[in-house]
């Protein structure tokens, strides 16, 4: 019985292969045989009966987990949940994770969520969730363990570089879909994408339109803030990149198998009409956010400012396995128009600015200027006003981005005159 169970898979698989690969096939046969042997022994000798489905599911999980965290098996129900957008990583704790060395690694917390408020950071490792070790779980299981009803608590054990492991109790909230926000500083616009939800393009377009409506022709350009934007939908990312690019390649996927490589090209139209852009990135800029940053940077559409991104750039394909479910398999890697691999290289900013806080000098007395002198001439109507220090930026990277954008606008004005 044992030999036949093992043999059937090996023989059937070998039947497909051509003669010139026979040596390799013999090795494959040996390996499949080994698995069949192990499976059969466990079925017969384990201390208690175990469902075949459980054994094979665990084996498939083990096999896929050895590849990468994003290659996973989905039951039909898992798949339906995915389609219905029920698996929203930002729900509950507001936390995007990946797997690293068998435990959960924080990609970045989502703006305003419990994880962000509690100060979780990119690179923090979650080793235990509610008393259950994360080791041995795959990404799907870990996300399920983190999720729960609003009001319930997740007890986490966190390992952070440079400190002893510590416990953190996070209360889950109905975080809701993260929203794109915008504001202005002077004539510069600022757009923040906290997460690439499927609706992100509409929100970005609305933000840019609102900025245009507010500032009209004075709009000098925008800062697209993708710092700590942990990812989301790759399709939505490509839509956002396309919104600012009018033609040519935005991003490519390089696969090993034929048919798994492709190039995504931009379609006509730029919602910002070619005005300058600065894209702000950091170590928490991951996945979908890296796709946007890479496309805009490599095509010369935006200047990337900040620090190197997270490096999460694999592309998955969904393959149905009969009635059993689906395999989500990594079949390629994203490559920028200039050939950088997001997975290996990340997006490297043209202008490196480390995160810092700006501490402004305290004004103990009003500063003396001509206008403060007694008997100074009145400022004529319509004369130049000093740029107010209104809302001076304490976020150093952002301050530098605003300065850069303003300088770009000045250079453009000079060139135009």
């Amino acid at each position: 019985m044992r030999a036949s169970v093992a043999g059937i898979v090996a023989a059937a698989t070998l039947g497909l292969l051509t003669a010139d690969t026979l040596a390799a096939d013999a090795r494959t046969y040996t390996q499949l045989n080994l698995f069949g042997d192990a499976y059969d022994r466990v079925r017969r000798a384990y201390v208690e009966p175990v469902a075949d489905e459980f054994l094979i599911r665990s084996a498939i999980n083990g096999l896929l987990a050895a590849l990468d965290p994003d290659s996973v098996f989905l039951t039909p129900k898992d798949y339906q949940d995915l389609l219905a957008n029920k698996v929203r990583v930002y729900d509950g704790l507001g936390l995007e994770i990946t797997m690293s060395e068998g435990v959960a690694a924080v990609v970045a917390p989502v703006d305003g969520g419990p994880a962000a408020v509690a100060g979780l950071r990119t690179g923090d490792l979650i080793v235990d969730i509610n008393g259950t070790p994360v080791y041995g779980m795959n990404l799907t299981e870990t996300i399920q363990a983190l999720q729960g009803q609003p009001g319930t608590t997740a007890d986490l054990v966190i390992v952070r570089q440079g400190s002893d492991p510590f416990r953190l109790a996070l209360k889950r909230e109905a975080v809701g879909e993260p929203q794109v926000t915008m504001r202005t500083r002077g004539n510069e616009g600022y757009v923040r994408i906290p997460y690439f939800t499927p609706n992100v393009l509409a929100q970005v377009t609305k933000s840019v339109n609102d900025l245009s409506a507010r500032l009209g022709d004075n709009l000098e350009g925008i800062i697209l803030d993708l710092r700590n934007t942990p990812g989301g939908s790759h399709e939505a990312a490509l839509q956002v990149a396309d919104a600012f690019l009018t033609e040519g390649p935005m991003m490519g996927i390089k696969g090993r198998a034929e048919g798994d490589s492709k190039t995504f090209n931009a379609t006509p139209g730029d919602i910002l009409n070619g005005r300058p852009m600065v894209v702000l990135i950091d170590g928490g800029t991951a996945g979908a956010a890296e796709i946007v940053a890479g496309a805009l940077k490599d095509r010369g559409r935006a200047i990337a400012l900040g620090t190197t991104t997270f490096k999460r750039g694999s592309a998955q394909s969904m393959v149905q396995m009969g009635d059993f479910g689906y395999v989500q398999l990594t079949t390629g890697y994203y490559v920028t128009p200039k050939g950088a691999s997001i997975q290996n290289d990340g997006i490297v900013p043209e202008t490196v600015v480390e995160p810092a806080r700006v501490i402004l000098p305290e004004d103990r007395f009003p500063r003396r200027t001509e206008a403060t002198l007694r008997g100074a001439l009145d400022i004529p109507a319509g004369g130049r006003q000093a740029v107010a220090t209104e809302g001076a930026e304490v976020d150093y990277q952002l301050a530098r981005a605003f300065d850069l954008l303003h300088a770009l606008a000045l250079v453009r004005q000079i060139a135009a005159n």
Binding site: V5, L16, R27, L34, A38, V42, V47, N61, V157, A257
Partner: protein, 414 residues
């Protein structure tokens, strides 16, 4: 996608042939085949389409390990080299660092470096937190896996990355592996008691216990008051050896029984005549690190009321693993039976609960009225060397054993 469907067709054809053969195949077997086909399909998909070329052997090993690890924490796959290492280790060709460690929040905490060990010489200290082994993270490893990684051939180096309290930057310490002499059995006199420490159950355990008893009884003669069997932090080992140790102190009766999956697949181990302690009291010292074979000893002697178990509740591992060689590809360690103490209890999950619960407390002497520290003898040291803290549990065991001896010798008043 096309390729995948072809694979499925091929497998289905193979399956059909099998099913149409003369042998009637039960429904359960059909499910087994269908599931195995599913595995074959996933394997083929990965081979054909994964973003990078794959190492098939690694994939299959990972699959087997995934299957076994999902069953219980003690079932695992050992690749050929690992299996050879495991076999060689018992022959003493393998070296270690000489560290007593425990797992804390996914990292390895040093309980203490052993006397005259490579780790001590290299400057590893008690309470150090080991985060990386040869640069790769400890996180994600089980304690056993981490210990396996620290072991290796004698004279080979390993770099430990250590977080030490009060030191901001991690320290990297290089330790050269050496043979760690940790005899299965060590012994000494504690007052008029025979103190026998069993650190693991290897093939030398029974003979070690017999030698210890002979030697200590020779030294004590008529003053012999009893035996303290210390199985604290003893992770277990060979089932037969634990049975032999119990047998050495038990005149008759069942020691332990193991039950496999099949009905009637019960194996009973019983004691033969003879008691090395000649009926004198025995105390078994246990703690949370006493597992498996240690629990068989504690459970059997407790059930027969042959010993008083003192300390803290044991680990609670009530399963037996079988090593199954897989040709030249390594071996599987698979849980094949459970064991039960003589009273029919499984200690799985619950452990052996001591008759006398004594935590390993730290004792701080109070100053007496005259301002001087009490002059009573301090509790015995936990091991050789003056720097180790006193062993409170052992002190309580010695007291108890002595009290029992006094009580038994006392004249009957009525």
């Amino acid at each position: 996608m096309i390729r995948t469907s072809v694979v499925r067709a091929g497998l289905a054809a193979g399956l059909a042939c099998m099913l149409s053969s003369a042998v009637p195949v039960q429904a359960a077997e059909t499910t087994a085949y269908q599931q195995l086909n599913l595995f074959g399909n996933v394997f083929e998909l990965v081979r054909a389409r994964y973003a990078e070329p794959v190492d098939e052997q690694r994939l299959i090993y990972s699959a087997i390990n995934g299957m076994l690890a999902a069953l219980d924490p003690h079932s695992a796959f050992m690749a050929a080299q690992e299996y050879r290492d495991m076999q060689q280790r018992t022959s003493g060709e393998f070296g270690g660092l000489g560290l007593e460690v425990r797992m804390e929040e996914g990292l390895v905490r040093v309980s203490r470096p052993m006397e005259d060990s490579p780790a001590l010489r290299a400057g590893v200290k008690a309470n150090d937190l080991i985060t990386h082994l040869d640069g790769s993270p400890v996180l994600g490893l089980t304690l056993n896996e981490a210990v396996e990684k620290m072991r290796g051939r004698v004279n080979t180096p390993i770099d430990l990355t250590i977080q030490r309290e009060g030191v901001a930057q991690p320290v990297v310490v290089r330790v050269i592996r050496d043979i760690i002499r940790q005899p299965s059995v060590s012994y000494r006199l504690e007052g008029n008691a025979a103190y026998i420490r069993i650190s693991s159950f290897s093939e030398q355990t029974e003979s070690g216990v017999r030698r210890a008893m002979t030697e200590l009884r020779d030294q004590l003669g008529d003053k012999f008051e009893g035996v303290i069997l210390d199985v604290r932090n003893n992770p277990g080992g060979l089932l037969e050896q634990s049975v032999a140790v119990v047998d050495a102190f038990l005149e008759r009766g069942e020691v332990v029984s193991t039950r496999g999956r099949e009905q009637g697949n019960v194996q009973r181990y019983t004691a033969r005549r003879g008691d090395l302690a000649e009926g004198r009291p025995i105390i078994v010292l246990t703690n949370n690190g006493s597992a498996s074979a240690s629990e068989i000893v504690a459970g059997a002697l407790q059930d027969h009321k042959r010993a008083i178990v003192l300390g803290t509740t044991t680990f609670g591992k009530g399963s037996v693993q079988t090593i199954m060689p897989m040709g030249d590809q390594g071996a599987m360690r698979l849980t094949t039976s459970r064991y039960y103490t003589p009273s029919g209890k499984s200690i799985q999950g619950t452990g052996v609960v001591p008759d006398v619960v004594v935590e390993q407390a730290r004792i701080q002497p109070l100053r007496t009225a005259t301002g001087a520290a009490p002059t009573a003898a301090p509790p015995p040291a936990a091991g050789p060397g003056a720097t180790t803290p006193p062993d409170y549990q052992l002190a309580r065991a010695i007291d108890l054993l002595h009290s029992l001896a006094v009580y038994q010798k006392a004249p009957v008043v009525n």
